[in-house]
């Protein structure tokens, strides 16, 4: 048999049918549902008199329009309250388990799937959310879909899909202190651009990827979409099996052993060909930060903001100039030392327990700079409980940060958490588009370490200066 990549293996394992002149019909093992991209899909089912084919492979939670204020408070925004209520009602109507606002399992959809053991190697995972690639960390083929496709999956557990190209992202060597998974992915996006992975699925491999924990792998895979790739994955290994084993929804006993035996066949065969590939030297990476209005506009933290005058392509030059105008930044100047109004630590990229531990390591025994608003938002209620059991919440509160309930929060700014016009934020989230974190707000994307360091100093800071 021709050597295959893990991407091709998972694809081949899920083909229900392939008819000439049509895309393959692909079976979906896990469908994650949230309040924002599902109401019109449920409406479509009702209009056709259809049921949900596999409620047992479907799970729902509220995260996007969900406030991160104490759960005892009502949702003040009536439109958001109606949307959250609609999800819970639709789930009840169609027999889907929903971890709603009162649930101890509630959280960002891409945090709770892995946490509950729902995300497993070799699966196909979809969600009406572009950051579904997060689940690729487990060696799953996981990608975001639109609402029409949400309806297709609810009704049939299948999707019509064309095969993607395969793209090998090899990261070799060891990361230096202060450099994290976030810096790997921001560096990749800066190198290939936000359309660099269009039409492709990434396989992240190499010794630096192997050395990452599951949570770090999730951070890397999460932002695959910011390079244009619909999905990105890491082949499963013992790190994966150790993480998955014993979680609420994973197989036990003999069923577990046989599942692991199957998963061990997933990694890419020797000699398999990728359509594209890139190699990154981990030891050469610095902390990364974005300066512009898309995630590809990133630089090592010690570098200067680029100059539009150096770019020959007119549209590209105009895009950069427009981004710098929006960000009110001067070309050729460093970002280091630039004042910061807000620090946001959270989102499906960086809200897991290890992210919070990293931030706490920097904040412990220090005070947030006067005038800086710092929000720490755990990715799930379980992450919140774990952080509180470790006393991290106290470290955050003592430093002067705001410790909140689980949700997407200021990553998407549709839940009350947002920047004011003109404010600068160092954010651990995934998008710095104009207005993404609030109309007129300006976002510098970075790691939890960089965010925490900047919270202390009140300016963009190289965390390595605080690690001695």
């Amino acid at each position: 048999m021709k050597p295959r990549t893990i991407i091709e293996k998972i694809w081949d394992n899920h083909i229900v049918s392939e008819r000439p002149g049509a895309p393959a019909l692909l079976y979906i093992d896990l469908h994650l549902v949230h309040e924002v991209t599902s109401p019109q899909a449920f409406h479509g089912l009702r209009a056709r008199g259809l049921k949900v084919r596999r409620p047992d492979l479907t799970i729902a939670t509220t995260d996007h329009s969900t406030p991160t204020t104490p759960r005892s408070f009502p949702i003040i925004d009536k439109v958001a309250a109606a949307q959250v209520a609609r999800l819970e009602a639709s789930c009840k109507e169609f027999g889907i388990r929903c971890f709603g606002l009162s649930s101890e399992q509630q959280g960002i959809v891409h945090v709770i799937g892995p946490e509950l053991g729902l995300t497993q190697p070799g699966m196909t995972v979809v969600c009406g959310d572009s950051h579904t690639a997060t689940h690729g960390a487990f060696g799953a083929l996981a990608f975001g879909i639109g609402t029409t496709e949400v309806e297709h999956v609810l009704a049939t557990q299948c999707l019509l899909q064309n095969r993607s190209k395969t793209y090998e992202v090899r990261v070799d060597g060891a990361l230096k202190p202060g450099i994290t998974a976030k810096d790997i992915i921001l560096s990749l996006i800066a190198r290939i651009g936000i359309g660099g992975g269009t039409g492709c699925v990434f396989e992240y491999c190499g010794s630096a990827i192997r050395a990452l924990s599951m949570e770090e792998r999730m951070t890397v895979c999460n932002m695959s979409i910011e390079a244009g790739a619909r999905a990105g994955l890491v082949a499963p290994d013992d790190t994966t099996y150790q993480y998955v084993c014993g979680r609420p929804y994973t197989a036990k006993g003999h069923a577990w052993d046989s599942a692991v035996a199957g998963w061990r066949k997933l990694p890419t065969d020797d000699g398999a060909q990728f359509d594209k590939s890139i190699r990154i030297e981990a030891a050469a990476l610095e902390p990364m930060i974005t300066f512009g209005t898309n995630p590809g506009m990133g630089i090592p933290i010690t570098a200067m903001v680029p100059n539009p005058g150096d770019i020959t392509d007119p549209l590209e030059r105009d895009s950069l100039a427009k981004a710098l105008r929006y960000m009110d930044l001067a070309p050729g100047k460093p970002l280091l030392g630039h004042p910061v109004d807000v620090v946001f630590i959270g989102s499906c990229t960086n809200s897991r327990i290890s992210d919070l531990r990293n931030a706490a390591k920097i904040l412990k025994g220090r005070k947030v700079h006067s005038g800086v608003r710092v929000m720490v938002v755990p990715g799930s209620m379980q992450v919140k409980a774990q952080a509180q059991a470790e006393g991290l919440d106290q470290i955050f509160r003592d430093a002067g940060a705001d410790w909140r309930e689980a949700g997407c929060s200021m990553c998407i700014a549709m839940n009350g958490d947002q920047l004011q016009p003109g404010e600068y934020s160092v954010s651990t989230s995934n998008r710095n588009f104009e207005g993404r974190q609030g109309k007129g707000g300006r976002t510098f994307l970075a790691s939890p370490l960089t965010a925490a360091a900047s919270a202390i100093t009140g300016v963009v800071t190289d965390v390595r200066t605080m690690l001695q």
Binding site: S17, G21, A22, P23, L25, Y27, D29, V36, T37, P39, Q40, H43, G44, R53, P55, D56, L57, I59, S65, V79, Q83, R86, G95, R97, G117, L118, Q120, G128, D129, S130, G144, G146, T147, T148, A155, T156, C158, L160, N162, I194, G195, T198, I225, G228, R230, Y249, N294, L315, E316, D318, S319, K322, I412, M414, R431, F433, E434, G435, R436, K439
Partner: protein
């Protein structure tokens, strides 16, 4: 689904690369549970001032834009979030096609499922159109051609199945539902690894 027929229109030029779906429709408008009423929110933060009044200079507020069916966009249009509200808003404004050199994957798929046609043209044609946007072009999906002034035609690629569905007015979900027997056979051969049932 209505059949996608050929049409002519002048263009609305929007010369910005990497336009993301957060710009096409900001997230705060995604709290709706309906597909309707999104046309007025298209490019909201660029289109209206702080008081919610239309900015007269913004291209979508000009009278000629309101009668156009084609947005002429920059490279990598529709990147970012998977929100299908983006094509819904473009359609409800009045667009039936977007011309660019490339589209983000999820946006392209979402558009095709809603009869908003993403048309990929070569860089020279793209530059030529931006150089002289005050022209009327003809879009013929069945022939996969864009007819430029003077009668020159440019072929554009489109997924064969998506084209078939659009031209014939075929609903994709109906097509998948017809394959229920094949889905049942697959399920019988592949026991699920999880069970989320209440």
């Amino acid at each position: 689904m209505t059949k996608f027929t050929a049409f002519e229109s002048h263009l609305v030029p929007f010369p910005i690369d990497n336009l993301d779906t957060d710009q096409i429709i900001p997230a705060r408008f995604l709290k709706t549970i309906s597909k309707e009423g999104l046309g007025d929110q298209l490019f909201y933060d660029w289109r209206y001032d702080a008081d919610g009044k239309p900015k007269p200079d913004f291209i979508l507020n000009r009278p000629e834009a309101k009668t156009s069916k084609i947005l002429l966009a920059g490279d990598n249009f529709g990147c970012g979030s998977s929100r299908e509200h983006a094509p819904w808003a473009l359609l409800q404004y009045g667009f039936r096609a977007v011309i660019s050199t490339s589209f983000a994957d999820i946006f392209r798929g979402n558009s095709l499922k809603n009869s908003l046609l993403p048309i990929v043209v070569p860089h020279d044609v793209h530059a030529e159109l931006f150089g002289n946007p005050n022209v009327t072009v003809k879009v013929d999906l069945a022939a996969q051609t864009l007819t430029l002034p003077g009668g020159r035609t440019v072929q554009f690629p489109v997924d064969a199945f998506a084209k078939h569905c659009l031209v014939e007015g075929i609903d994709e979900l109906g097509y998948i539902l017809q394959q229920a027997p094949a889905i049942a056979i697959f399920e019988a051969a592949h026991p699920a690894l999880i069970n989320t049932a209440a």
